[in-house]
């Protein structure tokens, strides 16, 4: 895929070229939205909105990392969605357990190649991580999702979040530390995976 040529075509209004870019980036964009928002359906809606905004504003892209630019668009869309939720709070549809805890979403157990035990374990891990991510402040969550989940380098994250590189380093370090503290609470729940002290050699 010649990304540069596709971007130029898209900037001239070629929707097919932009759709090729969408196919290439839609998983990344969706996963970013999912981890920031913590909800599949919302993430899908925000992803679609982000791509529409990206196409309409593609002439503002002046080179550099297209992924970072796209991530900035989806992050803004996530911020908009969260602001909207604050104005109009909604009740989650997932049923609660007897303890009043929200049940694990069955949508997260969709991989057909896993045994039931593996599914349960993976689901628990994912749920635990998502829970800890949800507890992070928005600006920390955005940075850690881009750097650690999307594998973007610091400069790309800085472009995407539109803050200086030093701020990215600071936010990332603090986000990781907070996540570590939060994940310690799930040690009993996830004994086989979550032994953070032993990961140091990894």
């Amino acid at each position: 895929m010649n990304e540069q040529a596709l971007i130029q075509d898209a900037q001239r209004g070629d929707l097919d070229a932009f759709n090729t870019l969408i196919l290439h980036y839609q998983d990344s964009v969706f996963n970013t939205a999912l981890r920031i928002l913590g909800d599949d359906d919302l993430a899908a809606d925000v992803t679609q909105d982000a791509f529409i905004s990206a196409f309409k504003g593609i002439n503002s892209f002046r080179g550099g990392s297209f992924k970072a630019w796209l991530m900035r668009t989806v992050t803004n869309a996530c911020y908009d969605e969260l602001r909207r939720q604050k104005r109009r709070p909604t009740t989650p549809l997932e049923p609660d357990t007897e303890d009043g805890e929200e049940m694990d979403s069955p949508r997260w157990m969709a991989d057909p190649g896993m045994t039931p035990d593996q599914k349960a374990e993976a689901d628990e891990l994912e749920h635990a991580i998502q829970h800890c991510l949800n507890n992070l402040p928005m600006e920390f969550k955005t940075v850690v999702v881009m750097a650690d989940l999307q594998g973007m380098d610091y400069s790309e994250v800085a472009v995407a979040v539109h803050v200086p590189l030093g701020t990215i380093k600071s936010r990332l370090a603090r986000a990781r530390l907070r996540l570590r503290e939060c994940l310690q609470g799930f040690e009993e729940l996830l004994p086989s995976v979550f032994r953070l002290g032993e990961e140091s050699t990894a």
Binding site: R12, G13, D14, E126
Partner: protein, 238 residues
């Protein structure tokens, strides 16, 4: 743990430190167990995060023209013609305005401070018509309404109009003659101009107006043609 050390450890984990910074930090890590412990924590958190599976997008997010309210892509030259058409139209209206207002402004003398006598060039033209109304006033007592208000002065004396008319006819010739002689000095200073005699030259030549109109029209036609071609090409492509 200092914030600075935390940032150093996190950056070290990602290989974002310079070699000298990394060497210094590694030396500290060998001697400071607290620092090592935090590094392990950060690494552990990062490792767990990276275990999160990348989910496949639940659906295709491809955009349709309807989603983006898209119009067919127009040629690059389109904005040039749009600009030319707009500019030519604006200039055309401007020239119309200029040609309409310009002569009027040019024909008006600096009338400020001229008193009740009116402008010299209009005086000559109005003198004849005014003479008829002013003539009867000559017979009126000096205490009557002033000459500047002829309508007020004429209103209360309709019965005197017959005899006054005869006097007016006699006076008319005298008045016009005397006016003419009075105005002789004025006309010597300012050449008499009547609307019929004026040869008004518009500030903007009509040729330029035709050119501007032509540019606006041709540009608009080219734009319409470009748009039609783009639409038909776009439809064929889909």
């Amino acid at each position: 743990m200092k914030q600075r050390d935390l940032e150093l450890l996190s950056s070290y984990l990602d290989g974002q430190l310079s070699s000298s910074e990394a060497t210094r930090l590694e030396a500290r890590l060998r001697t400071e167990p607290d620092l090592r412990s935090v590094l392990q924590d950060l690494r552990g958190a990062r490792t767990v995060l990276r275990q999160l599976p990348m989910r496949k997008a639940p659906r295709n997010f491809r955009l349709t023209p309807q989603m983006v309210g898209k119009n067919p892509p127009l040629p690059r030259a389109y904005p040039v013609f749009r600009f030319a058409s707009t500019l030519a139209t604006l200039l055309l209206f401007f020239t119309f305005g200029l040609n309409l207002i310009g002569p009027q402004l040019a024909s008006q003398p600096p009338a400020f401070g001229m008193g009740g006598g009116g402008a010299p060039d209009t005086f000559a033209a109005e003198a004849a018509s005014q003479a008829a109304t002013e003539a009867p006033l000559a017979e009126m007592p000096a205490t009557e309404a002033p000459a500047e208000e002829p309508s007020v002065a004429m209103a209360p004396m309709p019965t005197a109009s017959v005899s006054a008319e005869e006097a007016a006819r006699a006076a008319e010739t005298e008045t016009t003659q005397s006016d003419a002689t009075e105005n002789a000095g004025d006309t010597a200073l300012v050449p008499p101009q009547t609307p019929a005699d004026e040869t008004i030259t518009p500030p903007v030549s009509p040729v330029w107006q035709w050119i501007l109109a032509g540019v606006a029209l041709v540009s608009a036609l080219i734009m319409a043609l470009m748009r039609q071609l783009a639409i038909s090409r776009w439809r064929n492509k889909k």
